[in-house]
Amino acid sequence: MCLAVPARIIEINVDKAVADAMGNRWNIRITLTPDIEVGDIVLIHAGYAITKVDEEEAQKTWELFEEIARFEDQRQKAQEGGGADA
């Protein structure tokens, strides 16, 4: 009944955050998940993070999850290699 997709938190501003999924970025609220930190992967439903995702568990079952995690790793590597962060 409820569509929710995993995305990585890349920016937090009080109870608002920016979440990234394969380069797509959404402005979301983290009011329901106050303990979230930058770098965490969350499930987003209707513009709200509803839980932090257990990455180890997620790797086991989530086809897309692996991609998202890998994408983020590559992005980080690219940034580290490329120097300046835009």
């Binding site: 009944m1 409820c2 929710a4 329901l32 439903h45 209707a46 709200y48 079952t61």
Partner: protein, 353 residues
């Protein structure tokens, strides 16, 4: 991944062989219904395992009376109606939101967007069509709390929020021996926690298994269920460890409880289910669209002749409903099973089974 799928299929087949009667599993969640359809899972199951598409699509079970109120409000010149896209095509007596063709009906992706609309249009009242289960309710509660905190006066919601567990209990309570087990909703369970299904298991001795939405998770969930049925046991199990804990998201539940309280309310095709609908608490009554527009309550609409309640529970097949294919079709749906594109009646109508 394919190995795990193969293993789950074998487990399902093995368990179903041991049970020499049909096993009927209700997938409670509409997103499961869609995922089961998209992955073509039905075609991979043994003949005696039947999946019943439960009442878990919140818009599909939104009563026609609710839609009629929304349609009425949407046509007021002082109103901007904000809604999730899902609601646009759900039929009321006078058509659907989409068929009104009004630029003041806005599809939003979150309650934040609805509240922003209110702030942008101080001369209008923004009414948010607040539908959905426990996953979708917290954002509505946050929006109302935000509106109160920020003094936004031109924002209100029409609550059609619903509770999953009382509905499951009502389905079983109606002396229903056709539902052997529940495949429980992944994301509702994120909020509720898998322990929330314990009362269902204890009271009715039916297995409840929480699964995510990947094909492998659904198949493994079904395997778990079939094995429980074959063994004659009934437990709550969760195979969605990545996101679901036994306790769920307590913060979100607290936010819900701050703003909402349970009441009796009508479900499309199922009638009034006691304590399975949420209304705003008294302290937030100024954000309650009913009160704001001087309405008493949402009138429950009978869908004359509609048998969705019995179709949902696997008591009859869609063609046994007198409305099926005559007055109730995918283009002009009456009951929730036809409203939902992946609903039992809609699928039967389109694919002949």
């Amino acid at each position: 991944m394919l190995e795990r799928i193969e293993k789950a299929r074998k487990a399902i087949a093995g368990a179903c062989r041991k049970v020499d009667k049909p096993i009927q599993v209700m997938e409670v969640c509409g997103t499961h219904t869609v995922a089961i359809f998209r992955h073509g899972i039905r075609s991979l199951l043994p003949k005696n395992l039947k999946l019943l598409s439960g009442p878990g699509c919140p818009v599909c079970v939104t009563d026609q009376g609710y839609i009629d109120v929304i349609l009425e409000l949407a046509q007021r010149d002082d109103v901007i109606l904000a809604t999730y896209g899902d609601m646009m095509r759900v039929p009321g007596k006078a058509g659907s939101l989409e068929s009104l063709h009004r630029s003041t009906i806005k599809v939003v992706l979150s309650t934040d967007d609805a509240l922003t609309l209110a702030q942008k249009h101080p001369d209008k009242i923004v009414v948010f069509a607040a539908v959905g289960f426990e996953t979708t309710t917290p954002p509505s509660a946050v929006a109302v709390a935000d509106a109160a905190k920020e003094g936004v006066k031109n924002f209100c919601i029409l609550s059609g929020h619903k509770l999953v567990v009382p509905a499951m209990q009502a389905l079983l309570g109606a002396k229903n021996d056709k539902i052997d087990a529940f495949l429980c909703p992944g994301h509702v369970s994120v909020i509720l926690g898998s322990d929330a299904y314990k009362p269902v298991v204890e009271q009715f001795k039916r297995p409840c298994v929480v699964a995510g939405f990947e094909a492998v998770q659904i198949l493994e969930g079904l395997a778990n269920i079939c094995e429980q049925v074959a063994e004659g046991t009934a437990r709550v199990d969760s195979i969605y460890g990545a996101a679901v804990t036994p306790q769920g998201n307590a913060t979100a539940r607290k936010i819900i409880a701050e703003a909402f309280e349970p009441c009796d309310g009508a479900w499309r095709g199922l009638g009034v289910i006691p304590g399975a609908t949420l209304r705003l608490k008294e302290k937030y009554s100024r954000f309650d669209a009913l009160k704001r527009f001087g309405m008493e309550e949402i009138p429950a609409e009978e869908l004359g002749g509609c048998q969705c309640g019995r179709v949902l529970c696997g008591l009859i097949d869609p063609p046994q409903c007198p409305l099926f294919g005559r007055t109730c079709t995918p283009d002009a749906p009456i009951g929730p099973c036809m409203v939902s594109t992946e609903g039992a009646c809609s699928a039967w109508y389109k694919y002949g089974k």
